[in-house]
Symmetry: D2
Amino acid sequence: MKTIKDSVHDHIEVDGVARALLDTPEVQRLRHISQLGTVSLVYPSANHTRFEHSLGVYHLACEALSQLGIEGRTAERIRAAAILHDIGHGPYSHNVEDVIERHTGKYHEDVEGIIDGGSVEAVLAEYDLDPDRVAGLIHGEGQYGGLVSGELDVDRMDYLVRDAHHTGVPYGTIDHGRLVRELRFVEDELVLGEGNVQTAESLLVARALMNPTVYSHHVARIGKSMLRRGAERLIAARTDPRDLRRMDDHDLLVALRTTERTSEIARRLAHRNLFKRAVWAEYRDVPGDLLDLDHEALVDYEETIADRAGIEPDGVVLDVPAYPKMTESSTRVVVGGEIRRLDEQSPLVRTLRQSQLNQWRLGVYAPAEATERVGHATEAVLGLDTDGTLISDARPGLYTTLDRFGVGAE
Amino acid sequence: MKTIKDSVHDHIEVDGVARALLDTPEVQRLRHISQLGTVSLVYPSANHTRFEHSLGVYHLACEALSQLGIEGRTAERIRAAAILHDIGHGPYSHNVEDVIERHTGKYHEDVEGIIDGGSVEAVLAEYDLDPDRVAGLIHGEGQYGGLVSGELDVDRMDYLVRDAHHTGVPYGTIDHGRLVRELRFVEDELVLGEGNVQTAESLLVARALMNPTVYSHHVARIGKSMLRRGAERLIAARTDPRDLRRMDDHDLLVALRTTERTSEIARRLAHRNLFKRAVWAEYRDVPGDLLDLDHEALVDYEETIADRAGIEPDGVVLDVPAYPKMTESSTRVVVGGEIRRLDEQSPLVRTLRQSQLNQWRLGVYAPAEATERVGHATEAVLGLDTDGTLISDARPGLYTTLDRFGVGAE
Amino acid sequence: MKTIKDSVHDHIEVDGVARALLDTPEVQRLRHISQLGTVSLVYPSANHTRFEHSLGVYHLACEALSQLGIEGRTAERIRAAAILHDIGHGPYSHNVEDVIERHTGKYHEDVEGIIDGGSVEAVLAEYDLDPDRVAGLIHGEGQYGGLVSGELDVDRMDYLVRDAHHTGVPYGTIDHGRLVRELRFVEDELVLGEGNVQTAESLLVARALMNPTVYSHHVARIGKSMLRRGAERLIAARTDPRDLRRMDDHDLLVALRTTERTSEIARRLAHRNLFKRAVWAEYRDVPGDLLDLDHEALVDYEETIADRAGIEPDGVVLDVPAYPKMTESSTRVVVGGEIRRLDEQSPLVRTLRQSQLNQWRLGVYAPAEATERVGHATEAVLGLDTDGTLISDARPGLYTTLDRFGVGAE
Amino acid sequence: MKTIKDSVHDHIEVDGVARALLDTPEVQRLRHISQLGTVSLVYPSANHTRFEHSLGVYHLACEALSQLGIEGRTAERIRAAAILHDIGHGPYSHNVEDVIERHTGKYHEDVEGIIDGGSVEAVLAEYDLDPDRVAGLIHGEGQYGGLVSGELDVDRMDYLVRDAHHTGVPYGTIDHGRLVRELRFVEDELVLGEGNVQTAESLLVARALMNPTVYSHHVARIGKSMLRRGAERLIAARTDPRDLRRMDDHDLLVALRTTERTSEIARRLAHRNLFKRAVWAEYRDVPGDLLDLDHEALVDYEETIADRAGIEPDGVVLDVPAYPKMTESSTRVVVGGEIRRLDEQSPLVRTLRQSQLNQWRLGVYAPAEATERVGHATEAVLGLDTDGTLISDARPGLYTTLDRFGVGAE
């Protein structure tokens, strides 16, 4: 048994397959993948990694297994999945995930090809575990998949508390001990036991408050969009996207720095000389067809706007987030002896989706000196209704919803 | 300058009128008034007092004054009000407040008569402050009243964080530093500055989650109702209600112990041998006329139920909470340069009232051995529709909404 | 299984004999015994009780038992002892313990007579546990006594962390998880495993820093000496000391308030109108014969000083602490495969005794207006060498070692 | 005014020269320099950076300035020095500092050449501050140098608390609020005010406990020695040491990975496939001449040992730490109105040096499979007295002082 000190869960005891997996290069690599990517440009203490998060998820999985009375091979498989659930992440975690997916077809959950080759497969074989079934758990499949990836998974419980600890924003400080203690399997479904409507609500509310304040803070989004652009250019210039997927943060940053086509983006990121918002538009003001743009159409718009603004194409980023999803609202809770969906039971949760939508923003970013021109060009090109709705870092007079979001953010 | 160490705000610096007020018997008395009363029967660490809370409110008031640029006599008056805002509390704070009010007409905010007599008045005079204006602030009057008692008051900011610290329930852990920093006076109205919809939401959500989990936990409610009954009997037997109002927790408990009429209640409270729920009914199942009972009608019902159940009148408690109010939903926030009400801006907040209503419960409590009989008697007497709605500690088979609420509570 | 939320250890699971013991009046009474007594006059947040501490000790005992692989009846007996270890405390815990001992011969560990009678004995019998053996564990007897009362006991681990949490003074924040994890039985002796010299040092250092800052803060000592005097007078006036021993804090305070002989002390304590230091002398300046005074001799001195100062005998308190003991310095640690005493291994620990001695102070206290006269009278009566050593709250000019100790204390 | 959220100090307000300095590339670079280097190989959560630490030091400096009543240009200069005090660090902070110093003659405090050139100089000029005087403060010069770099500097106060927060080891949790509040200038000397012997002791004790547990944990030392060797080889192979000094962590790691001569070390570090201890010897067992080896002599020994053990020269690392220094023991505290040195006043502090010496270890590290051979070779070559003193990861039978140190360390 190995005991590891963690700043969130204190002592974590690692044993069996999890201990052996910890020593594989695939898991050790997570030490060099930051958990929140460019969020550290807003919250300077948020330098935590996927490695410590994976340990935390493993720790909560062990507690949940003990609570649920799951033992033996099944438990060992779930513990392996907990340690491995993030090994498919590329550098900077979610920040460049869609670039990688566009070029390789792989999301971070697609761990096949990583899990069934090399050191990880060898360790799993030693413990007589089938890589495919472990990968299945990471995809959330089967009765136990929900523990690793689902509405009540231990992944979310760890990241909310950990991100709160490292950013200093308290909203994520859920009562994970209570959540784990109240997990039940009822009719093969993972639910929270009787009397836990508030417990379930607290998890969703924590996400709903952390999202605009931390995860989607506009400065983090701008940083992310610049990193994504860098990754695109790197692939165009010299890097196989499958190689990029297996880089760590160091590799990607240095590749950006040392490649001519991307060195300017790298320099801007290194010096925190970021683009600014030229447009920051609410959901209701964005024409519907902009919401489903494919990558090519989006690039076309960027180029058209840049052209009209009279600047280099690299100087315009159009950032259209997906429609907010709230999968957890279907969390199951036992109420009055029956399993009920949380959104049936909780009026609070029913409105969280609306709340998320209110916080949704389309962003157009550009170098500080060009935001005004880019703002005007965007109005013309995208046909945004700017009557009191256009928001921009450059033209304070036009701000109508200066939505800084940030909690004491830089 | 005096520096006091506090477990929530670390170092609190006390000076001027606040320092002089601290030494008065009226404020020192708050050391012996528990903040949460019978909540400590559920959360054993919740033994904090109105004294440390008052220091915390004073501390946040100082920060808010500095943030708002308020100085001089006005600031000193607000600081005095912060220190004094709870001196009108009777023993066990809110627990017996309605008993006291019924007999004396005084709520805890009614500090006139305490503030303008004795040591407090002398100190205020020394600092040239008018007791009536200080009392006005405690009532929330005037431009600055909202800082001490209002939707964005520092009272609430302190108690949420302090109650979370002492109970161990994290839901109250708001970002009070952010809240204080974002306070503004716009058009003489206290508001949160631009970009703080989430900040405001977080305050209301914290209350909405703390309420069922802590403040209205059914065991705390049962304890409170027993304490209230004890206070009623004490007044009937021997104690002037005006004297009862100025007791501290020690006085009240020992008076209950040493008075024949109340010694059984005192013994039950001391040994945590509490009444249990005979009925626990949702809002929708309670006939409308039960919601507005005056005290006499309520006592009549208790006696009728007891009679029908064949037990002593003291053995039935009918506990009908008020309709939930959500005054904070009219919190003002600046959005797009305009002052807006939070409930106009936040769909989340609009549903909190509904959420509170879902958690509302009418309770009927009785000694453990009598809950079944009292449950049946209550059905008959109150005409509750028990089709799948009656909930009781005694008859698990009838539980349909076993709403334990508690977070790992005793 | 019952789960209780604790502000220090989060969720505490209570089961078996411990759960049954929790409901006894003897254990419930601990809800009304403050952990640190008059320390709350210095640190206003320090209102925690022996009840929550006992739960914490039980929790750490469970962890230690699991770590040490102790099960069955022995484990159940140790768990019972953990819950019960403080039931012998009188009101205000250690504050009046020596008064009670002088009159009854009982220290708080002397739980015989409490444990083997009434509800506790009935519960122990139900679980087939011998009250004498449980009492033995509380006295630290036998192989397992050291877990409950010894140099490495879980009592100390809980109170250091809990007192730090509630006072806000961080010095007590030890790594209790590490300490419990490293407990071993080697040759039937409770020791810390290999590599834990620092772990053991940290426990002693935490005590050495908490002691002057919290436990022996001069204001807490003054409050305690006044409470002790009150208890003495109460016994003289009307209360059987065996009854006083079984009072809780409420009973004692109200008894002091309502007894003529003690109402002035009660009033002073309630209004924090405390005595002040007239003399505060270092160990080296105190004549040796003063260090071993019995109670009568001490009272004689107090009366002589009062007489010479021309004030009432009640107005002088002579407070001579015991010579500091450092029992933990004989903590056993495994070093290089051998069991060694910590003070053999750690030069740090060897000097802690000297350090404690440097902090030792003899105090003479009196009402604020009389400290100067009492100071002079004390010099004359006790023959203290005042050449640059006399310290007094009243005569700042004479202060040579104004040793306020306090960490931001009131 | 800019407000930045910090996980340790909550909200940090940045203004004036500090705000402008934050945006310089020299300070932004600190985002990519880890605070504790290879300590994260032991404590996986310890991924914090020099950037957040510099913000913390600035924050405490502001509090100290306000406490000491220092304003105007002097205060601005001190604030600049606080933000800039670590810009001279190379990659991985202290880990490769001695390599850089050997080749460039520069320690991290030698900020001349960084401070007086480029963006930093421009900002200082704008605020009319002399770079040389700022650099002087960073060297601890002048009356105010002690605030930035001295026995009572805010640097140490921040890093102890921050390292505790991020590692999870509580020993560093000092009461920084108290320390800053008690700073005084007496006769132009920075001291702690009356009554702060414990406050001062607590700072030194925190260091004394953090040192073996965190900073000098043997796994961190092994990682550091490997990184240092990599840096040496890199300089030999291709990198100008002045360039290496200005790299950040990413640059160094990728340079090690992509240089043939160092790729094996890089791979070992990336996969945490570290060397193990072949020898781990106490101070008293090490021949005196080994304590003052210059670099060449040390390399000679390494080669001789490797040769005798029959392995590659790269496979042996001889790690001889400096004699422990305890500069803080001369901290000044006011005692009885006089300024006294802490080590005169505190027996505790006098023994800390001895304690540090007890924890001192000479290490010889080698690949796991070679530790036994290297252990024997070392005995022969260095003439260590191995009678019961030789310690090695490879030969458990010979362990006499298995000093794992770690607090639940990996």
